[in-house]
Symmetry: C2
Subunit: 114 residues, 2 copies
Amino acid sequence: MSMAEFKGKVKNVQDTPFGYTLSVIGGKWKMVIIYLLAENQPVRFNDLKRQIGAITFKTLSSQLKELEADGMVTRKEYPQVPPKVEYSLTDKAESLLPVLEGLCEWGTKNQNRR
Amino acid sequence: MSMAEFKGKVKNVQDTPFGYTLSVIGGKWKMVIIYLLAENQPVRFNDLKRQIGAITFKTLSSQLKELEADGMVTRKEYPQVPPKVEYSLTDKAESLLPVLEGLCEWGTKNQNRR
DNA sequence: CAGGATCCGTTAGGATACTG
DNA sequence: CAGTATCCTAACGGATCCTG
């Protein structure tokens, strides 16, 4: 791994690959959001909310904003009434999907056993 | 992905594969700790502290305890004075290493560019 | 050496109500 | 429809000091 260079001199976790990655996908719902976007992009705000269920508007909104700020999600707004906004994944996010799949598989295998 | 079954009915994130995985490795230093253990197991407490740098004893201690409780880390205590404790990875943690590597690579590629 | 015990500040995220 | 605006709380993690 390319973490090797950090051995013994980690000052800010944020500056390590792991720290950075965690800051991007470590939000409580972010991986779920990315997963759902990957399944059926583009997705509208309320669709996403409905697909998730146990998330509040405010939380979904802020998680999406952070994902957008981190270059993971694209927000496309249609100037019409009623409003229509669509979210989709950036290439950066797409490049993470294989890894996410690994995390998902590992989680599935391990969450119900010790 | 096996997250498909959760679409529309996510009640607790913790119950999804992503939620579970995040609860296990989402701690601020946990991925770094697992990475360092993977490199040179078994490792003693203060060695680990030294290898990391910017972490306090208390934080390292609690992160290790949580990892142990989640079946990721084994703590071996030698009954001697001065004390000697060695930490190593469980099979469960070892099975996550390939995925961790993916996260690390992705982080390396993406942390310095948009 | 390997921690435990306290105290404490930040903040992520939930509940609820309101809006262009 | 797609959010804001507030308010609020739990808990994560840092700082510091102490100990078997």
